[in-house]
């Protein structure tokens, strides 16, 4: 595709004015704050003097000894791994259904299935805060179905994180489905026909034909969603605010609380740097996949 572009003779210096607005705004709101954050992570903020003092790697050493950090770290790992695998399986099934010729009213089904994507995440979190309330709709329905002691979703420390995961998966299914569906639609029919002639059943066709055919799209979208999910703040903040008793705290929330409740800006920046380090491999992989 870019062969068109290569043939054209816009060269070096001519490109600068076109790129300048983007470069300016990205330097101001992206590069500068990023470098600033890195520098901050080596400083401690003193509330008394309102100043940052250089403390070297102290923030990182403290972080390693902070039990709450480790809980947030483990929660974040559980959160990303569970969200992404559940999302992938559920979205893949939905994409297969939407791609099936046997589906009635495909356009309507597809449009309805995208609704969670169109909602502001804060509204999604509020909706589920209502759904999952102790005497809310979900437990009322479970009661009707004969569940004697439905869990107290958002107030039980052993359940709260899973409730957050459930909501995030629900919200992210549409986006992933759309991407996988686009992958499925580009698979040539003849491949399926060949598989059918060879007598492959549904499972064999899925594992041997469909999945390999959409591998690239799937990899890119899984990587991207892992990064986004890892950085996600709003769902947990609104749903449980990390509670009860920090049971569902994740890294972004941990950093936020340090920065804006305890005024430990340097410490919070250090958390950000650790998050960035965790993401580094994924980011490099993502960039390589897309630029290839």
């Amino acid at each position: 595709m870019s062969e068109y572009g290569m043939r054209r003779v816009g060269e070096g210096r001519q490109a600068i004015p076109f790129l300048l607005p983007t470069i300016l705004i990205m330097c101001a709101i992206n590069l500068y704050p990023f470098i600033n954050g890195m520098v901050r992570s080596l400083h401690s903020f003193r509330i008394m003097s309102q100043e940052f003092t250089y403390t070297g790697l102290r923030n990182f050493r403290l972080l390693l000894q902070d039990e709450l950090f480790w809980r947030a770290f483990l929660n974040s790992m559980t959160w990303v791994a569970t969200c992404i695998s559940a999302q992938f399986v559920l979205s893949f099934v939905l994409a297969l259904v939407l791609n099936s010729r046997e589906l009635i009213a495909r356009r309507v089904v597809r449009t309805l299935a995208l609704i969670p994507w169109a909602m502001p995440p804060v509204v999604v979190a509020l909706t589920w805060r209502y759904m999952l309330a102790d005497r809310g709709p979900l437990n009322a329905l479970l009661g009707v179905l004969g569940v004697a002691n439905p869990p107290s979703w958002l107030l039980d420390p052993s359940v709260a994180l899973w409730a957050c995961i459930l909501v995030t998966v629900w919200m992210n299914i549409p986006f992933m489905t759309v991407m996988l569906l686009a992958g499925l639609q580009s698979v040539e029919r003849s491949l399926y026909e060949a598989a059918a002639i060879d007598g492959a059943n549904f499972l064999q066709t899925t594992l041997r034909v469909t999945l390999p055919a959409i591998k690239k799209v799937a990899l890119v979208v899984v990587t991207l969603m892992s990064i986004w999910t890892f950085n996600m703040f709003d769902i947990v903040f609104v749903l449980t605010n990390g509670g009860p008793g920090n049971a569902s705290i994740t890294l972004p929330l941990f950093a936020y609380q340090n920065a804006f409740f305890y005024y430990q800006m340097g410490y919070a920046a250090a958390v950000g740097i650790v998050m960035m380090a965790c993401l580094l491999l994924l980011i490099v992989f993502y960039i390589r996949q897309v630029l290839e």
Binding site: R8, Q14, N36, V97, L103, V122
Partner: protein
Amino acid sequence: MRLSPTKRVLVNLVALVYIVVLVFPVVLMFLNAIRTEAEIIQFPVALPHVVTTENFVEIFRESSFMDNLWNSFSVSALTVCLTIIVAAPAGYAMSRFRFRGKRLFSAWLLATQAFPGIIMVLGVFMLFRTYGLLNTRLGLVIMHTSFSVPFSVWLLKGYFDGIPAALEEAAMIDGCTHLAALVRIILPLSVPGLLAVATFSFLLSWNEFFFSLVINRAERLLTLPVFLSRFLGVGGMVRWGPLSAAALLATIPALVLFMLGQRYLVSGLTGGAIK
């Protein structure tokens, strides 16, 4: 392929289950907007016995909702304009020019989507404080634009790649500059791509929560997501009626725009951005 009746039933059944799970919570939540507080507490899953408008009356009369609605709308609309002004030339340069550092620039654009908000937010806060942009609409617009630009550049580059360069070459022989070629020839041919960018950046700005929460503390300048999150008191008591009414009104514009723009957005996402 043969169509077996069992498969047909199965496929449609699964689809039905998905639709119920994905849509039912939304319907339940938004029904609360026209139910009374007593009913909401007493019957969690039920149609309204009495339809009431008092929730809407309350949020309009007793909160800053109108201001916040207007604020969200103007910030989102301005973000769309600024995003297009900034991203279209860059997308053009990416598509048509050869320049040093192009790969690095592409990688940077992609990488920005992955930066954890917490590293950025402190720097943005300090920068905005220095330039007096805290608690201003302009600050929000600039910030949201910086979030939407990288993806928009990428999307438009993909779109421009599909437009034959011969068109501009002809114009340039007649003495047309690159900028004129972009504005007069390329952009009019890129309406679907621009609609994708507009949908994307409007929704991004409309939905954005974390940075708006930190940067903006003046009540009248809160965007809707932050306004909504403030309904949750410290004690955990929530009045679901007015909250649902406000949430419904905050969702309708996003939903309408999404339904109108999803065709472009989806083809932009799957075509240009994630190949």
